[in-house]
Subunit: 204 residues, 2 copies
């Protein structure tokens, strides 16, 4: 049937989570990168819900980044040992995404005054609130976000750091040593390291 | 250990998804409803990430609505038969939530002019776009959102209809007969019907 084809824009963005997990799973995949201006208007109507990333596998089309990641996580030992562990992984992914969404939301704010206020609130309250609690979670889970060992929540969050940091114009994990150590640990996994070394260089 | 305790505000809101799935699973639960003004400021710092709903079960605390729903769905036959079916359920839940988030986002917009524009765009483009595709999905799945039978995606979406409809001040599924039929089918499930009959009456 050939390898799965991931279609996304030519950036790390949210789709980088899937690339991390496919790489970790040693799953060969076609990293199809399309141009937002030139290609997307033509491709958009052919996608199930007008959104990327999508993953084509064995003639079927999958949507929704976290759904795709969860699917491959089960195949490569990055899921939980039981349903409760899965719940904790899902909750961690969802929690980080609450913060990420607040950050993205500020980025797309078109009213300049509102945007300034949102960014200020993020830096003063929202980001420290989440980062402190995530740091505590790493402390309580032997250096991982959850379940005391590597799960797809770790890959999810580390894959998204470039996006949130670029949006906020700073390194969010800078003052959180356990968070930094976990980031470095994930980036040192041979399959992830190889992927990061070979991926196209993009700003976002 | 006692029954699980769901803590949420005194409204249907997002937490209603968990109440639907616990009811379907015939899982006895404490439906703890707190007052946003009187109770929440005191309770907020005691929650893992300053958000509700949370579910306390066997002395442990779970967060994130979809994570909690997925956990109970596995226990009561509302999950997929295999990993791919689970992916399709997760994708459907995520897709509906993309629309729900766009709707919620308009609701919390404080700039009156931006709010008006957002609501107009929702009614003209976003909502018809999603509703048409979801209607098509029901057609292709024997009257359910996915996998040709009842899954937690059906309960998730039907439980959230009151919230999105109240926000948009109209019945979104009105012109989509398969969507309406699926809604009625879910609301006619005896355990769901019993829950809806006995739940506190709230506007939201």
């Amino acid at each position: 049937m050939g390898p799965p084809k991931l279609t996304y824009f030519s950036l790390k963005g949210a789709g980088e989570t899937i690339r991390f997990i496919l790489s970790y799973a040693n799953e060969e995949f076609i990293d199809e990168r399309i141009d937002f201006v030139k290609d997307w208007p033509k491709i958009k109507p052919t996608t199930p819900f007008g959104k990327l990333p999508i993953l084509e596998v064995d003639g079927k089309v999958a949507t929704q980044t976290s759904a795709i990641c969860r699917y491959y996580a089960k195949k490569c030992g990055l899921a939980g040992k039981d349903d409760w562990e899965d719940l904790l992984i899902d909750a961690t992914v969802g929690t980080f995404d609450d913060m990420r969404l607040a950050i993205t939301n500020s980025h797309y704010e078109t009213n300049e005054e509102s945007k300034k206020k949102k960014i200020e609130l993020l830096n003063r309250e929202t980001i420290p609130f989440y980062m402190e609690r995530l740091e505590k979670q790493i402390k309580e889970n032997d250096g991982y976000f959850v379940n005391g060992r590597l799960t797809w929540a770790d890959l999810w969050i580390v894959a998204l750091l470039d996006l949130v940091n670029k949006t906020m114009k700073r390194t969010l994990e800078e003052k959180y040593p356990l968070f930094e150590a976990l980031r470095d640990k994930v980036l040192a996994i041979p399959s992830i390291k190889a992927w990061v070394a070979k991926r196209p260089k993009t700003d976002w």
